[in-house]
């Protein structure tokens, strides 16, 4: 393989070559490589183009914090994912990887013109560059911004993968399986706790995987990791790899996203692609470690410029030297060790540039031993090289002045600006942070959840310190669960402790205004942008962030936050803790929508409620409409019929003979008990005391504000038993409201409330022949007009089934509603339908139901009312029991606004031409010639073609409507103004003659 791969080195399997493609070119790697490590092994640093300036970029990290090396991955048809981090994606034979945000190719990209015009794209450029002329906005600026927005391209095909979700309960959840996390897990598990250990990497070990020369307990680090993981599994610890803790929520709930198949060449098809775990832990140990910071200098983003710790990882974990001739620039001891490892592996170290005047003597001695040139007290002021760094410009710092530059040739520049504890999850809990002056970083302070923070995540450095801290914190977690335990003590040889200093931009002898010194690589934010934001008046760090977009990309400022803070703090002249840090929010790393959806997609997105008769409707070609969670038969089209023709036919058939309708979705509540009638008197507006058993009444329910909440027919079955019906969508709400008053306002009432919606199937028969169809099936009831008049209810048998039979009408025709046990619904429906054939019985759906009721002026709560309509407004003042001392809404009805003149009232509308059907929701005006904006005085609530009326009809809420009978009002539409006359709401059979048998 290439000269950059170090034979036998790393944790990749050198015996298992793997081939994938990058922009169509075949690339060879080994099993265990990531896309980035395999490309680097082939000497390829150029992996992407930056967002705004289209600058050539390479991988700057070796982990999930990667801002630059974002690629599109294709795993077969429909399986395309944009913005995958090349540093995380494991390779397998046949994987297709493409670079992004470039045209026509990665090495030659037309969009790179933006880089030359960078002055136009400074902080807040949206608000400046695209301001004028105004006419340019639609045609030029917006299309330009839209085309430029985003990095990768969204997939267009449906996702064929499936995703899972699970719950997990555990005593101790440990996040991060590096040295601190492993030691914490050992402590907690040995103490007898149920432990779950998660890590986003394919294997446990964390930073130890990059430190093979360390000796823990006289054992090479990797052997210690293997031994420890084996012991943990032996102790029953659940070890989850490729699993990212994405969010830390209240009461120790942590969201985990486990990736199961993206690393496999041929998934079995059964395994979900990802699984979202909702973990409830008694204790959480955060052992997430620290993220290395870049240094901020001109040209710090060229391909080949990389974090020193990441270069060490590529060498030790993947066996890849990131270059042949490296320059190190650092303000922290850790980068020296990366230089030593690379030097020992054959890379020439051209120089170690340390910004500190007097670096650690031991490190200097080690470097000298290897013949490495040391440039202490130096700064980097620039780099050269278009698609790969070629040289670096170095200057000595003397006091506050920067000396003469020297140019050093190299093919990679490894930088370290120190390490930032990973505080993301801790911050999700609203735990507070405190500024650590010595380490120049924020550390966790006050905890808001039951958690411990261990290791580098709380600012510690060096393997031994971190291991022992992890052991302590794991023991602490176990102790707070009542376990007795003692933390193990670890001894580490060949440890690499160290310290460092923190910087704003590195000092330079050049014009800082022209420096392209990047702070946020992914959003192309430079140090100059941050200073500009402060100059232009941004004072809060939150404003600086939004104005510059620093830290707002998908990496959420993992690398840029502290550098951005240091620069903003310097520009503001205010110390860092006074400037503060922006808020971290979940998810920790970009997470697929699929993982969040889990099983809830397609037909499982939400439940579909179906009535017992639904299957008959389906077999008979019903068109459906959703009504709350129900699907209801909308109309039953015959061959070639459109909706209008079908509804028209269904309406005519019902009024001419008989129609059959599935009303099972109506809400049904059984109100039972010695105080049932008193309860009904208090809940509903109507008087119930004198309603005899066997009789039914239209009931109206208000809120205590006096507005209509629900309605329905209510039958009294016995002195202490009511069968209450509600609107389809209102059933749960009404029962909730009833329970609320019963439990909390009137606990003295002896009443039971039970939802029976799904226990009953309800079949409505309407039309002059309805009784003829039904009567032969009814046992134990005299159905004559005298014995069983309109608004009656009886318990009897229908078709052999126990039944509650109502004689009521929502059509204006003679009507019956038969309630039978749900299981009998379809059987009875078929019996009635068969028997009705000789009367040309017609099944109808909700649309015909709507038309028939509108012809009679019967309202639908929620369509003709909107939560601001009183019974009087709706023409239902007759339904109020005025003699009752109180009911819900009575006092509300006396509120000044509710008794005022000129309220919007429900009236009928007939269009002047007798042909035009109004649009529901259309606004009404009194004068169509008034200047805009016109004064709107109401709106159309219901509008249909009416066969019975022979013309379109409508209802509307209109200001002072009752006093406008006969007046002409206007409905302005985009293309014309429609004239209509105000009428009453009953358009058919105003005397109600058809309700009689």
């Amino acid at each position: 393989m290439s000269s950059f791969r170090v034979s036998g080195r790393g944790r990749v399997d050198h015996t298992q070559p793997i081939q994938f493609t990058f922009d169509g070119k075949k690339i060879k790697g080994f099993k265990g490589d990531t896309v980035a490590s395999a490309l680097l092994a082939n000497g390829i640093h150029l992996m992407g183009r930056s967002f705004k300036y289209h600058r050539p970029r390479g991988a700057v990290t070796a982990g999930s914090e990667e801002p630059n090396a974002l690629v599109g991955t294709r795993r077969g048809p429909g399986r395309f994912e944009p913005n995958t981090r090349a540093t995380v994606q494991e390779i397998w034979d046949g994987l297709q990887v493409n670079s992004q945000n470039r045209y026509p190719s990665l090495s030659f990209d037309i969009g790179a013109i933006n880089d030359k015009a960078y002055m136009l794209f400074s902080a807040g450029f949206y608000y400046k560059t695209f301001m004028w002329p105004k006419s340019f906005w639609d045609k030029v600026y917006e299309p330009f911004i839209r085309a430029a927005a985003g990095l990768g391209v969204s997939p267009t095909e449906p996702d064929p993968d499936h995703y899972a979700s699970r719950y997990l309960h555990t005593d101790v959840l440990i996040i991060g399986a590096g040295p601190a996390g492993l030691a914490a897990a050992v402590s907690a598990a040995r103490a007898g706790s149920r432990v779950t250990l998660v890590d986003e990497n394919p294997e446990a070990g964390g930073s130890l995987l990059s430190e093979p020369s360390a000796m823990i307990e006289d054992m090479p680090a990797w052997d210690w990791v293997a031994k420890t993981v084996a012991e943990l599994k032996e102790l029953g610890v659940k070890v989850m790899t490729r699993t990212t803790a994405i969010g830390y929520y209240h009461q120790n709930m942590v969201g985990l996203c486990e990736k199961l198949t993206d690393h496999l060449a041929s998934p079995d098809g059964e395994t979900p692609r990802e699984r979202m775990w909702r973990v409830r832990a008694k204790q959480v140990v955060l052992a997430q470690g620290a993220l290395e910071k870049p240094l901020v200098f001109d040209g710090n983003d060229r391909p080949g410029v990389m974090l020193a710790g990441s270069a060490q990882t590529y060498l030790n974990r993947y066996g890849v030297r990131v270059g042949n001739k490296a320059v190190i620039v650092t303000s922290h001891d850790s980068a020296w060790y990366a230089a030593f490892d690379l030097a020992d592996a054959g890379t020439t170290i051209a120089a170690i540039i340390d910004t500190r005047a007097e670096p650690n003597g031991d490190l200097v001695a080690e470097a000298t031993k290897r013949g490495i040139r040391i440039m202490a007290g130096h700064t980097v002021t620039g780099t050269e090289g278009r698609l790969r760094i070629k040289s670096v410009r170095v200057n000595p710092i003397t006091g506050s002045s920067v000396g003469a530059a020297e140019v050093i040739v190299c093919d990679c520049l490894l930088m370290s600006g120190g390490w930032t504890p990973s505080l993301h999850l801790f911050s999700h809990t609203k735990g507070t942070l405190k500024w650590d002056e010595e380490r120049q970083t924020f550390l966790p302070d006050h905890k808001a959840e039951e958690c411990e923070i261990a290791g580098a995540g709380r600012g510690l450095w060096g393997i031994e310190a971190v291991l022992n801290d992890g052991a302590e914190m794991g023991a602490a977690a176990a102790k707070s669960l009542g376990k007795t335990t003692k933390a193990a003590s670890y001894g580490v040889a060949n440890d690499r402790p160290g310290t460092g200093v923190s910087h704003k931009e590195l000092p330079t002898d050049l014009d800082a205004g022209k420096a392209r010194a990047f702070v946020d690589y992914q959003n192309d934010v430079t140090a100059k942008d941050l200073r500009l934001a402060v100059r232009e008046g941004m004072r809060s760090i939150e404003h600086v962030k939004r104005y510059t977009t620093n830290g707002m990309a998908t990496d959420q400022g993992k690398m840029s936050n502290i550098n951005g803070l240091n620069i903003a703090s310097d520009a503001l002249g205010v110390p860092q803790p006074k400037v503060g840090l922006t808020t971290f929010r979940p998810p920790y790393t970009p997470t697929t929508f699929g993982a969040f959806c889990g099983y809830h997609k397609g037909s499982h997105f939400e439940v579909t409620r179906k009535t017992p008769i639904d299957s008959w409707a389906e077999e008979n070609g019903a068109a459906y409409e959703p009504v709350s969670l129900w699907r209801r038969a909308w109309y039953f089209p015959k061959d070639g019929e459109d909706m209008h023709a079908a509804v028209s036919r269904e309406c005519r058939a019902t009024r001419a003979s008989v129609g059959i309708f599935d009303a099972s979705t109506l809400g049904k509540i059984e109100v039972v008990g010695p105080d049932a009638v008193e309860f009904m008197n208090r809940m509903y507006t109507n008087p119930w005391t004198k309603l005899a058993p066997g009789r039914a009444r239209y009931g109206l329910l208000l809120g205590d504000d006096g507005f209509i909440r629900d309605d329905g027919v209510i039958g009294r079955l016995a002195d202490d038993r009511f069968h209450v019906t509600t609107t389809t969508g209102g059933a749960a709400r009404v029962l909730n409201m009833m329970e609320d008053y019963l439990q909390t306002e009137w606990p003295d009432l002896d009443v039971w409330l039970t939802s029976t919606t799904e226990q009953w199937a309800t079949i409505a028969l309407n039309g002059p022949n309805a009784r003829k169809v039904l009567e032969p099936f009814v046992e134990g009831l005299d159905m004559s007009d005298e014995a069983f008049p309109h608004m009656s209810v009886a318990e009897c048998r229908v078709g052999g089934f126990p039944a509650r039979l109502f004689r009521i009408s929502f059509t204006g025709e003679v009507g019956f509603e038969v309630n039978v046990p749900a299981h009998a619904g379809r059987a009875l429906w078929e019996m009635l339908f068969e028997a009705g054939k000789k009367y040309d019985i017609c099944p109808y759906g909700t649309e015909t139901m709507h038309v028939l009721r509108a012809e009679k002026g019967y309202i639908i709560v929620g369509q003709d009312t909107d939560g601001t309509v009183t019974p009087h407004d709706a023409g239902l003042g007759w339904a109020i029991g005025k003699m009752k001392p109180d009911f819900v809404g009575k006092r509300g009805l006396a509120r000044p606004d509710l008794v005022a003149e000129g309220r919007k009232q429900l009236i009928g509308l007939l269009t002047k031409d007798g042909k035009t059907k109004l649009e529901e929701g259309a606004q009404i005006v009194l004068d169509p010639n008034q200047p805009k904006p016109m004064k709107m005085v109401g709106h159309v609530t219901s509008s249909y073609h009416s066969d019975a009326a022979g013309r379109p009809i409508a209802m509307a809420l209109l200001e002072d409507g009752f006093n406008r009978m006969g007046e002409t009002i206007y409905i302005p539409m985009p293309d014309r103004v429609i004239k209509a006359t105000v009428t009453g709401t009953v358009f058919f059979d105003p005397e109600g003659a058809r309700l009689k048998l």
């Binding site: 209240h250 909702r278 409830r280 504000d705 329970e739 909390t744 109180d886 509120r895």
Partner: protein, 100 residues
């Protein structure tokens, strides 16, 4: 997702079983017809909207179905206590003492 203690079931259960039901200790006047428009307005609409410990109602909707009262800190989303509807309103100073 919060865990909420139902004082009737005496169990601590996931938030998904519960529904929120507005501020607590707002009693409906026993004789609404005798109260002024202003008093009725206050009963209907005026709420404390506190930043901090809030007396509020919840219903164990997908459980026992009972309404109960709670004190929850609206800043930290932490429950200080849940209690039965007819229990007396707990004193805040004692609750804060206890939660320390």
């Amino acid at each position: 997702m919060l865990l909420i203690h139902c004082p009737y079931c005496n169990q601590t259960l996931p938030e998904a079983e519960f529904t929120y039901a507005g501020e607590a200790h707002i009693a409906r006047p026993s004789d609404p017809s005798s109260v002024s428009d202003e008093e009725w307005r206050d009963f209907l609409f005026i709420r404390t909207n506190v930043k901090g410990p809030h007396y509020e109602r919840w219903r164990h909707f997908h459980g026992c179905g009972r309404y109960f009262n709670a004190v929850r800190d609206t800043v930290s989303d932490r429950f200080l206590i849940t209690y039965k509807t007819d229990d007396p309103r707990p004193e805040l100073s004692k609750l804060l003492e206890k939660s320390k």
